[in-house]
Amino acid sequence: MNIFNPYLEVIKKAVDRDPKYTNRFFSNMPDEDYDLSYIQKLRSELPNLEKLNESVQLAKGLGTPSITSLPRLGNHPDFAHLKSSRNTEKHWIISAFVDVQKSTQLHNRFTLATVALITEGIVKASIFAVNLCGGYVHRIQGDGLMVYFGGKNIEKGQATKDALKAFSMISYFVKNDLKEYFELNSIRDIYTRTGIDLGHNNQVLWMYSGLGDSGEVTTCSLHTSLAPKMQATATSNGIVVGQHILNQLSSSDKYFNQKSKPIWDYEDGRFYNHYDFNWERYLVDNDFAAQNLNGDILLNIGDYSISNDPINLVPIAKINKPYLNFR
């Protein structure tokens, strides 16, 4: 079983039922004329907190502490004490941005309600992956997330690995599970882009920004600002990371490709570089995914081989007919 299936199923239903899509060769009807009441029901089928826990347990094994309440947005729990105060605090953090890019084709084919539901499905799947890997969703935009990894009870190196794992899983979901289904329906061009960067203790200032209660505990940091700039340079389903991220990994060369132009000029002769992250290699190398005969990648989180049916081995296994010539 694939941990993203509950999200994929809802998106499939939305596509299958979209009246504009099923009617696409005949009609120019405006969205308002279609009966879209089913969309609300589908939205409620996207996994809620209970399902989130189920999936987390499946993926991490039984005995995993369950998420009793999703932490409220906008107040990283380790810095929530800054809420409504003027105090500030310096502490390292990994900032990440992910968004869902949609082609105009998608808008032309489907009613807006369906496009919104597809986006919501991807965003919720992303929230799930971030929570599964120990990250904190700071803000939800319509088609994207701002996420923090790190805090006061975790090592930088571990938080870095967690962040890379979470966004690799998200990219995988959109590039593989979702794309496979969309391509069956000749829909192209829906993908995510991600930017991730790490700011060290002296580079990140935590503070409360806003009026009274309607504000958020947020970071002021060059590296929080660079993450969305990196995101903008990412390819389809690409992840771009800053130099500080790669410095946290012991064996990094095989996963990262330096971009030709630095992302930041300190104007003192120093530059800050950013890198394309080969998340597919990362997933496989760290056993979060496996590769089939052709090298295609399959997520290996929450998978149980006991229930596998050997009949599915046969088409590959029968290519081999064993013989022995040792003496």
Partner: protein
């Protein structure tokens, strides 16, 4: 290292992330090491993770047969699993490997045709107790079985004559009435069969003829 080999090896390790080159020249071979995980056609992942070393001979590439050594000992060292004590895997009947070698291999394709199916079939055997497509008997008996399947015959004398025709020991004109089956012009009946087995190469055919001859003497 020749440029085709370099290109093929790079293509392979850029596609299968769990593999890396550990030596560009170990005893005349490029030595690759990595892990094979088995994913079935339903996309389900099987728990086995085989660690292997693959030696690709440098000279003569692409006309070579890579050798595979299973070093994780996930395969029991027992002839019934077609593996040697040291973990050398018997990937296929030599004839199939010879055809690939003589035609010239592309390493990625070799991996997909011989290496990955070998390990997939091991999973199948572990789960069901048998190989998906049966197996050849060991040693000479397996060779005889192979010819019987390839030539679709149970008649050993027929096999003997086809091999003789293939290596030129039995000279038959294209338009002669076929002395092997007595049915047709040679080019229309048995010549295509002789040509088919000629792909294994003369040396192999001479060895096989010997095996067939010995078996025929035993029978008579």
């Amino acid at each position: 290292m020749n440029s085709i080999l370099k290109k093929d090896v790079n293509e392979f390790i850029n596609r299968y992330y769990k593999f890396r080159v550990i030596d560009y020249n170990r005893n005349g071979c490029v030595l690759i090491e990595g892990y094979i995980s088995i994913v079935d056609v339903n996309g389900d992942i099987w728990s086995a993770n085989y660690k292997v070393q693959i030696a690709i001979p440098v000279s003569n590439y692409p006309n070579v047969t890579p050798a595979v050594k299973e070093i994780s000992t996930k395969i029991e060292r027992n002839w019934d699993y077609h593996i040697s004590e040291e973990g050398i895997c018997c990937l296929a009947i030599p004839h199939k490997l010879l055809v690939a070698e003589r035609r010239g291999i592309n390493f990625t394709q070799f991996y997909q045709e011989f290496i990955y199916p070998f390990f997939t079939n091991h999973q199948h055997k572990l789960r069901t107790g048998k190989y998906a497509n049966g197996e050849f008997e060991h040693h000479e008996k397996g060779i005889l079985q192979f010819y019987s399947e390839e030539l679709k015959t149970k008649d050993l004398t027929f096999t003997q004559k086809i091999i003789q025709a293939a290596i030129g020991k039995l000279k038959i004109g294209n338009n002669d009435k076929c002395p092997i089956c007595n049915a047709n012009k040679f080019k229309k009946c048995c010549k295509p069969k002789a040509n088919k087995i000629l792909r294994y190469g003369l040396k192999r055919l001479r060895d096989d003829l010997e095996i067939v001859n010995i078996e025929l003497t035993k029978e008579s």
